[in-house]
């Protein structure tokens, strides 16, 4: 899933402070699972904003809505008939949802209510960790299913570097060394001989470096 974290309420208030009628818009997908932008969080944020403006002695209309997704036309269309009741939207979907909203509703100010962080997993209750950076050319087959791009602070393809100590990364003693994990997996798979294969220079043209990416599938196009 795409993992996000709540923005500080002060930052949100600063962006919306001049508006009179605001829609707080959640998303039922990833940000619901990581408890940053679902229906529950919409309610909490809306209440906090109402309380803030009340204390300021201002009458600001704060409405709540949560869509099935903010990354699909059909769900974003569901608010077309009500969007003009508000002079701004705080979207607490990921950055994808915020942008798709902005593209669809050209003249409506859309503000982000979360910081979008990474593609990751729920490692434990309340703990989410990164697994993928979407480099566009998956090499997990040769690294025992552990990704050096997303799990190594230096995205080293032939690791570990000299800073790996007791299975931890030099950057943070709490952080697992991605290359230790790769080696542990190769060992468990009986594939340690693979360790000595040199990974060639990576083609980063499918990564962020190549510019905004696009997938066109003729077999599913209408």
């Amino acid at each position: 899933m795409i993992v996000a974290d709540k923005k500080p309420i002060e930052e949100i208030i600063e962006t919306i402070k001049d508006h009179q009628s605001i829609l707080v818009l959640g998303c039922n997908e990833c940000v619901t699972v990581c408890e940053a932008g679902g229906k529950k969080e919409v309610g909490i944020l809306a209440s906090a904003l109402r309380m803030h403006f009340l204390q300021q002695g201002r009458e600001v209309n704060i409405a709540e809505r949560t869509l099935e997704r903010q990354c699909d036309h059909e769900y974003l269309e569901e608010i077309r008939d009500i969007i003009d009741d508000y002079d701004a939207v705080v979207s607490i979907a990921c950055g994808v949802g915020v942008q798709f909203m902005a593209e669809k509703y050209q003249s409506k100010p859309i503000y982000p209510g979360v910081n979008t962080l990474f593609m990751g997993v729920t490692e434990a209750r309340g703990v989410w960790t990164e697994r993928c950076q979407g480099c566009g050319q998956c090499i997990l087959a040769s690294t025992g299913g552990i990704c050096p791009v997303s799990r190594c602070a230096k995205r080293i393809f032939n690791g570990p570097c000299g800073g790996s100590a007791s299975g931890k990364c030099e950057v943070d003693k709490e952080l697992e060394c991605g290359w230790q994990l790769i080696i542990d997996r190769l060992k468990a798979l009986g594939r340690m001989d693979d360790y000595e294969n040199i990974s060639p220079l990576k083609d980063w043209s499918t990564d962020r470096a190549g510019g905004p990416r696009k997938v066109v599938r003729e077999d599913v196009e209408l």
Partner: protein
């Protein structure tokens, strides 16, 4: 063995001498005197001088410019280059820039993470890694080609080095990792600072058991300690460093005013012992901001005068 480049360091190693290298950290400013003064302190006691590349991610005068200074004063530089700050365009470009001044040694490194330095909020590049940088320099030198495939007019002639840390984890891949660097094309190795001699000797034995000592020159890395405080700091704070308790105790048990001398003694004793270890081809003495002690260490270790080669 015949040489592949005009490198003096390569000639000395190929002739079978124990090589001695040291390092200079460039200043955090633009005063060239800092580099030339440091080099003058050690140039008659070493075969080549490494110039570090923004070590510990603290922004400094660039390694390439400092290497050119050394070259212009007739000293043999080893250009340290990290993959943290440059993509493959910049790496190749800097290699050519160095080659244009006939800098004949390069040390390929990944570099400390930027979070340790003064620009913790900056990006890191890591377009390629240190293993791939070794391959890149060899490709440019031996094939005379850019990574993109075009011919290089007057290719670089560089003796290619890399680091090895026998003390990092996991230990079991430390020898395979060296084998991998050799397969990538590395010709000399400068190791992490050695304090745990037993563990280093165990690593060297395994290196020799695989015959890797026949394929690469290994320079044992040493850093003299100035104080018991520095010993404790190296033990507890520096990533990938292995300082045994008895070394820390020996420093701590020495009266404060004599600790610096004790640190020099420990370093000289280590060289004496490592000279006898199979597979050790020389020494890399990293006297951090203590360059003036390098001549004493080299002389007491019986490594002076340095051989002359043509």
């Amino acid at each position: 063995m015949s040489t592949n480049t005009p490198s003096k360091l390569e000639k000395i190693l190929t002739a079978g001498h124990l090589a001695v290298t040291s390092e200079c950290g460039p200043p955090r400013g633009s005063d060239p005197e800092v580099i030339t003064e440091k080099a003058n302190l050690i140039k008659d006691h070493v075969d080549a001088i490494n110039v570090t590349d923004n070590q510990t991610s603290m922004t400094r005068l660039c390694s390439l410019a400092a290497c050119i200074r050394l070259k212009l004063m007739g000293v043999e530089p080893v250009l340290q280059m990290v993959t943290r700050d440059r993509n493959r365009i910049a790496l190749q470009s800097d290699i050519l820039g160095a080659a244009s001044f006939d800098i004949h040694n390069i040390l390929c490194l990944s570099g400390d993470h930027q979070s340790f330095g003064d620009c913790a909020q900056g990006q890191n590049v890591h377009d390629i890694d240190s293993m791939q940088l070794i391959q890149t320099v060899r490709h440019m030198r031996d094939d005379g080609k850019f990574l993109g495939g075009d011919d290089i007019k007057r290719p670089p002639q560089m003796f290619v080095g890399a680091a090895a840390n026998p003390f990092a984890d996991p230990y079991e891949i430390r020898v395979p990792r060296l084998a991998k660097k050799i397969a990538a094309g590395v010709e000399f190795i400068q190791t992490q600072c050695i304090y745990n001699l037993d563990k280093f000797e165990d690593w060297m034995k395994k290196v020799c058991d695989r015959g890797l000592n026949e394929k690469v020159y290994i320079l044992a890395g040493l850093t003299p300690m100035k104080s018991a405080g520095m010993a404790r700091y190296m033990k507890n704070r520096v990533p990938g460093m292995d300082v045994p308790d008895d070394i820390v105790k020996r420093m701590a048990d020495t009266p404060k005013e004599k600790q610096a001398q004790e640190g020099i003694d420990i370093c000289v004793e280590a060289i004496q012992r490592l000279k006898e270890v199979k597979g050790v081809s020389g020494f890399h003495i990293m006297a951090i901001e203590w360059e003036e002690k390098v001549p004493e260490i080299v002389e007491r270790a019986g490594l002076h005068p340095r051989p002359s080669v043509n």
